[in-house]
Structure formats: structure tokens, C-alpha cells
């Protein structure tokens, strides 16, 4: 449980949570330790316990089976010694499935692109606009010049929402009327970012369910239109995932990747009780790194994803 205490800004709240209704989760790893205590090898009881922990964290069946297989292999190869080793092996194996390395800071992207264009996509209600607001704040803090593009012209008041964020963070925003063509907003935004010599351009898009073909095609169009100005834009397609989403997130990631070639993930709402374990399977199967995590509603509540901390949190440690 120390993880969230150390890392996340909403520390007191989380503490209370752990004391309160979430007592059970805190002790899962302890439970696991107990299950192996005094045993010389990883037996079915231990693996069952592990399965429950992983499934309950939304890791999903396929990935859980994969992890368990890897543990068994490792145990056979390295000769299992005790609880401490099991803990380490477990963490290592899970962390291994997560792609990419933990980046040093928010500036750690290829600065040769000017502007570095980030297109933010995802299904409805995952927190795209909020993540963009926080991301803009972090970039600005890092001394970068940021422009926002309000290409969610569909959801009621989405442009207003992003405008309020742009005022809060104090960065320029490019917008048009509600209902206008999102590709045209993206084009305008890029043009404006180019002429302002901005370092980063972040494009907001409307939430869309990944099984709606027309809406998915619209994303492709937004991309193509931007490429008329900057052939390799967008340089990053950031898929925002809600940590409380279950196995459907995998399908979301697959479909969004198919249309827009997602390059990075942001996992939001990790300040709740959801563990976001589905990200492991996504990262592993689609070879996409998790870059950011959202841990609250304030400007500061965005962090760079840390593998080790994430794995620890799965076990409530």
C-alpha cells in the first residue's frame, strides 16, 4: 500500500480507503505469502491464489495464464526457494510484459519534431479532455510551448471544457464552433502551432466507441488532413483508457490501433479502487507502452508511468 502513499498526491484519501472498505486487497500479497509459507515449490493452491489476485485486478484470463506459465517455467529453471524469491520473480515476470522503459520526465520525446503532435483518442468518458489539460500543464512546467486543438466538436460543451483547461494552464487553444468538421479544426490547430513555433500540439478528439465504423474512419481522416501540413504527424497517438474498464479495453486498443496506429497509452482514474490490470495484456499483445497515469482531477494529477510501482499496486502493496 505504500506505493500510492509515496507516489500519488491524494495520499490521505488513499490511506483512508485502505483502512476502510479495501482492507482485503491490502493483504492479498500477504495471503499469497502465507500460501507458500513452508512449501518447497509453487503448488496449485498458490497458483489459484495468484489467479484470483490477477483476475480481480482485471488482468484477464489469457494474460493471467501467460503469467502463471512463465512463473512455472521460471520456478522449474531457477529452482524455487521461498516467498521472497517468488515475490521477486512474480514482479519481474509481470513487469517484463509491460513494454518500454520508464521515461525520465515529461520532456522525454523526440524534440526534432516541431511541433511534436499528439493526437488523443479513446471511447466516451475515459478522461481524454482532463488528461489533455493535465498533460498541457506538465509540458508547460517543463518549459515547453504548448498549443491545444479542440477537435471534439461533437459532445455537448466539450470545446468549453477544453477552453477552461487552456485558461487554467494558460496555453493557447484553437477551436471552431460545435459541430464543425474535426479534421478542419485539427488542420487549423497544426497551422497555428507551426506559425507560433510551438513545441507541442495536443489534439482532443470526441469519444467514440471502437465498434462504430464511421466514427473510427473519421479519426483516420483527421490524421490524413494533418499530414498535408506535416507528413509524419501525428508523432504520437495517445489512447486513453479508464482503469476501471474490464476486458473490453483490449478490444478498444485493438480497434483504435487498427485505425490510428496508437503509439502510447494513458491509464486514467487510478486514484480509485480499480487496478487497471488490463493494461498489461494490451501492452504485451500490441507492443504499446503505457506512458502516463491519471490519479486525480487536479492539474498536478498526472504522472509518468512506472512499471514497478504499477505491478506493486496490483498486489495492493
Amino acid at each position: 500500500m505504500g506505493l500510492f502513499g509515496n507516489l500519488f498526491s491524494k495520499e490521505p484519501k488513499k490511506e483512508k480507503l485502505e483502512e476502510g472498505l479495501e482492507k482485503t486487497k491490502t493483504s492479498l500479497f500477504t495471503k499469497l505469502s502465507k500460501a507458500v509459507a513452508g512449501k518447497s515449490k509453487v503448488d496449485d493452491e498458490v497458483l489459484d491464489e495468484l489467479e484470483e489476485i490477477l483476475i480481480t485486478a482485471d488482468v484477464g484470463l489469457d494474460t493471467t495464464v501467460k503469467i502463471i506459465d512463465r512463473i512455472e517455467e521460471r520456478v522449474a529453471r531457477d529452482k524455487y526457494l521461498g516467498t521472497a524469491e517468488l515475490n521477486d520473480i512474480l514482479r519481474e515476470e509481470i513487469a517484463d510484459l509491460l513494454q518500454g522503459e520508464t521515461q525520465a520526465d515529461f520532456k522525454a520525446f523526440d524534440a526534432s519534431h516541431k511541433p511534436y503532435v499528439i493526437m488523443v483518442v479513446g471511447v466516451n468518458g475515459v478522461g481524454k479532455t482532463t488528461t489533455i489539460g493535465k498533460l498541457a500543464h506538465k509540458f508547460k512546467q517543463a518549459g515547453l510551448k504548448v498549443v491545444l486543438g479542440a477537435a471534439d466538436t461533437f459532445r455537448a460543451a466539450a470545446v468549453d471544457q477544453l477552453t477552461i483547461w487552456s485558461e487554467r494552464v494558460d496555453v493557447p487553444i484553437v477551436k471552431q464552433a460545435m459541430g464543425s468538421d474535426p479534421a478542419s479544426v485539427a488542420y487549423d490547430s497544426l497551422q497555428s502551432a507551426l506559425s507560433q513555433e510551438a513545441d507541442v500540439l495536443i489534439i482532443d478528439t470526441a469519444g467514440r466507441l471502437h465498434n462504430k465504423v464511421n466514427l473510427m474512419n473519421e479519426l483516420g481522416k483527421i490524421k490524413r488532413v494533418m499530414q498535408k501540413l506535416v507528413p509524419d504527424a501525428p508523432h504520437e497517438v495517445l489512447l486513453v483508457l479508464d482503469a476501471s474498464t474490464g476486458q473490453n479495453a483490449l478490444e478498444q486498443a485493438k480497434q483504435f490501433t487498427k485505425t490510428t496506429e496508437v503509439t502510447a497509452l494513458a491509464l486514467t482514474k487510478l486514484d480509485g479502487t480499480a487496478k487497471g490490470g488490463v493494461a498489461i495484456g494490451i501492452s504485451d499483445q500490441l507492443q504499446i507502452p503505457v506512458k502516463y497515469i491519471g490519479v486525480g482531477e487536479q492539474m498536478e494529477d498526472l504522472q509518468i508511468f512506472n512499471k514497478r510501482a504499477f505491478v506493486d499496486s496490483l498486489f495492493g502493496e
Binding site: 484519501k13 472498505l21 480481480t56 483547461w165 479508464d242 476501471s244 473490453n248 482514474k269 482531477e297
Partner: protein, 449 residues
């Protein structure tokens, strides 16, 4: 909707086929498969376990009729159990209060504001209520603007206090406003909050005790994973809500949350959200949902939706024409219009038993009929009434008029010919066969008997 779970269960039941009766041995593999399918569908790990255990007990105790196969018996047990789990019959809203007050609560991004609008629309149009929407989300940027836009879309007044940051006071003032201005229904939208955020949870508790809602509805995303257990329970502990709205079911989520939430809190799911349009709100029917999960198709929903939109007079006319083999392009065009009125084609197809699986990887555009309509509309009335007239030069003219290739016109004519043939067959002995097929799936739609 639940295609993947259907696939899995189909496979699981398949293992049982060929065995004479249900025994501990032959049921074990199937139950394991069902449990995996449920977990894969985001049903809570513990509830999936509990569910399969109960199914097993019931199945083992069950007399296996000689005429039935174990797979069929187990299908019924699983189905009944699932209906039980999701809560018997459909639950109505309690609107007795004067005014009736509905409080919306849930996590961030679950769809509270959108569904406040949908609910307002539903109550206004279907129940003739005079609805007031209340903007109680004072935190998220532009949340109030969003509700205003939504209110405008459905033609319902929205009560706002832009400078007031106290949701309790806003709710109380709104109630006063409603009483003074003759509103008989008040829907209060609230900010999204995490169940572990004590400050925010005590705030909504205060709103709740200040306005004493007739209905507190917990709004939850159908895509929610294992955490559904925690949030559903935590909100229920604080608000003791009356019901649940399950949103975003127009996605391809397997929707295990539907099974979980009801079991955990023992509160009914009252509505489901099925799209971004303000009309996309349906009443939740547990047995239909179970049918769907088990791959039995949602025949009842389909029939109801069809009846709602179907012009009986028109149907009778068409039937007569088919009987006389005089079904022409005008009738065809009429049929397309009827289908389009019923909604998204893929959704409709998914409700037909056995189609769910077939449709899984097919994309049907809502505009799929546009080209067909254009071609038919480019025909003269004579041609529509008597397709045999359409020769080569007429085909070229029709193609030009519709902006299509002659090839496409040819294709439509060919399909139309085949359809006519099929209809003739169904009028004859073929209908009997179809009726038999339908029997197992809840009977024939009334109009087709």
C-alpha cells in the same frame, strides 16, 4: 452485444453433446468453461464462481427428461440462473413524489449527464411528465454547459446556478423552483466521484438527505471490469439507491458488469443506454439479456421494436402480395423504410437467434440501404411495379439516374429475383420448417404466425 460470451458458451455446451445425462464428470468441464467465459466477460471473479456452483447443484439435482439432451437441460439451468442473478422481471421507476425527484450518481465518465438528458426525454415523451433538469456538477469544467445543451436538445428546462458551488443548496433551490413552476419531475445531475473519496461521498449523501429522492439511480459503464463490485457496493452503502442505469451497451463489451452489479447490491437495473442519441435509452429486461448472453437471441425485443414501428395495414398488404407473387420494388422500398425506422441494422440482426455470431465480424453501415434506395427511386412507377420490364437500356438509364454502375443495378435485380423466389418458398412448405426452428427460441413473432 454479448457475442463473445455466446461463442464461449456455445463451445462449452458443445462438449456436453453426445452424453446421455448430467453427471459430475461431464458437467465439470462445461462449468469450468462457463466460469472462464463469465470471468472473461468481466463478471466478478467471486460471483462467477458462486454462479457456476449454483448451476452445478441445480443441474445435478435435475431430472433429465429422456427427450432432452444434457446440453439442453444445462442451457436452461444456466439461463434461469442468469435471469435470477439479474433480477426477475423488469423494474419500473417510482414517480409518486410531488414533484418526483430523481438523483443521478456515479463515477466520472459513466454517462450521468447524457443519461440525465435521455431520462428527461423518456419521461417527457413516454410518461408525459413535466421535467426539470438540475445542474449539480459544480466541479468538472463546462459540466453545466453540457447539461444546458442536452436540455435544449430534448426541450427540457435546465436549472442552473452558475456562481453557486454548493450542490446541496442548488438541489434545494431547484426543488423549490420546480414546486413553484409546476414541474412534476426533477432530475438532478451530479459530479462524477470515486467511491473512496470520502469528502465527495459525504457531499452526495447530503444532497440525498436534503432532497429525499424517490429514485436514486447509480449510473455505471457497461464496460466496467472487476471493480464494479467495489463501486456498486460503496455507492449503495452511502445512498441505498433504488436502481441502476447501465450505459454504453452499444459498444461490444460483453457486459459482465450487468451480472455483477445486481448480485452485489440486490438492486435492479432499470435502464440501459444504447447510443449517443437522446432516444437511445431502453428499459432493462433481465430475461432478454440472459437470452442474449446464451446466444438465444433477443427475439422479444426485436418483435417489440418491430411492432412499435410497424404499420400493420402495410404488413398485411405486403403479405397478400407475396402470397400472390406480386411483391414489387415499391413494396421493397417500403420494407427498407420500415427496417430503417427500427434502428441500427446490425443491432437488429444481432437480436435474431443465431445471427449474433454470424454478425460478429461484419460491419453494416447505417447507410447500407442508400444505394439500393437510389436505384429503386430511379425506376419509373411502371418498372417498379413490373421489374420484368427492365431491359438493357432501361438498366443503363436507371444506373445513370442513381449515380451507380450498371453492374450494381444488375446485382440488385438479381437479388430481388432471388428474394421473390425465397418468399414464394416460405409461403409454401418452407414456412413450417421455419416455424419449427423458431419454436425453441421463444415462439414466432405474432405477425408471422
Amino acid at each position: 452485444m454479448f457475442d463473445s460470451l455466446q461463442d464461449k458458451l456455445d463451445k462449452a455446451f458443445h462438449v456436453l453433446k453426445g452424453h446421455g445425462q448430467i453427471s459430475e464428470v461431464n458437467v465439470a468441464e462445461t462449468l469450468k468453461e462457463i466460469r472462464r467465459a463469465l470471468v472473461d466477460a468481466d463478471v466478478s471473479f467471486k460471483i462467477a464462481k458462486q454462479f457456476t456452483n449454483e448451476v452445478k447443484e441445480k443441474a445435478l439435482g435435475q431430472e433429465v427428461l429422456t427427450s432432452l439432451k444434457p446440453g439442453q437441460v444445462l442451457t436452461k439451468v444456466v439461463h434461469d440462473q442468469m435471469v435470477d442473478l439479474m433480477g426477475g422481471t423488469a423494474a419500473e421507476l417510482n414517480l409518486e413524489g410531488k414533484p418526483a425527484v430523481i438523483l443521478m450518481a456515479g463515477l466520472q465518465g459513466s454517462g450521468k449527464t447524457t443519461h440525465s438528458g435521455k431520462l428527461a426525454n423518456y419521461l417527457k415523451r413516454k410518461k408525459s411528465r413535466k421535467v426539470l433538469l438540475v445542474a449539480g456538477d459544480v466541479y468538472r469544467p463546462a459540466a453545466i454547459d453540457q447539461l444546458k445543451v442536452v436540455g435544449e436538445q430534448v426541450g427540457v428546462e435546465v436549472y442552473t446556478e452558475e456562481d453557486n458551488k454548493n450542490p446541496v443548496a442548488i438541489a434545494q433551490n431547484a426543488l423549490k423552483h420546480a414546486k413553484e413552476n409546476g414541474f412534476n419531475t426533477v432530475i438532478i445531475d451530479t459530479a462524477g466521484r470515486l467511491a473512496i473519496d470520502e469528502q465527495m461521498m459525504s457531499e452526495i449523501r447530503n444532497v440525498h438527505s436534503a432532497v429525499k429522492p424517490d429514485e436514486t439511480l447509480f449510473v455505471v459503464d457497461a464496460m466496467t471490469g472487476q471493480d464494479a463490485v467495489n463501486t456498486a457496493k460503496a455507492f449503495n452503502d452511502v445512498l441505498d439507491y433504488e436502481g441502476v442505469i447501465l450505459t454504453k451497451l452499444d459498444g461490444d463489451t460483453r457486459g459482465g458488469a450487468a451480472l455483477t452489479v445486481r448480485t452485489v447490491v440486490n438492486k435492479p437495473i432499470k435502464f440501459i443506454g444504447t447510443g449517443e442519441k437522446m432516444e437511445a435509452l431502453d428499459v432493462f429486461h433481465p430475461s432478454r439479456m440472459a437470452d442474449r448472453i446464451l446466444g438465444m437471441g433477443d427475439v422479444v425485443s426485436l418483435v417489440e421494436r418491430a411492432q412499435e414501428q410497424f404499420d400493420e395495414e402495410e404488413a398485411r398488404k405486403v403479405q397478400k402480395k407475396i402470397a400472390k407473387n406480386k411483391f414489387d420494388f415499391d413494396d421493397f422500398l417500403g420494407q427498407i423504410k420500415q427496417i430503417k425506422k427500427m434502428g441500427n441494422v446490425k443491432d437488429l440482426m444481432g437480436m435474431i437467434p443465431g445471427m449474433g455470431k454470424m454478425m460478429k465480424n461484419v460491419d453494416i453501415d447505417d447507410d447500407a440501404f442508400k444505394g439500393v434506395e437510389a436505384i429503386i427511386q430511379s425506376m419509373t412507377p411502371e418498372e417498379r411495379g413490373n421489374p420484368k420490364l427492365i431491359n438493357g437500356s432501361r438498366r443503363r438509364r436507371i444506373a445513370k439516374g442513381a449515380g451507380k454502375d450498371v453492374k450494381e443495378v444488375n446485382q440488385l435485380l438479381k437479388q430481388f429475383g432471388e428474394m421473390s423466389k425465397m418468399m414464394k418458398m416460405m409461403q409454401g412448405g418452407g414456412a413450417k420448417k421455419m416455424a419449427q426452428m423458431m419454436k425453441g427460441a421463444g415462439g414466432m413473432p405474432p405477425g408471422m404466425r
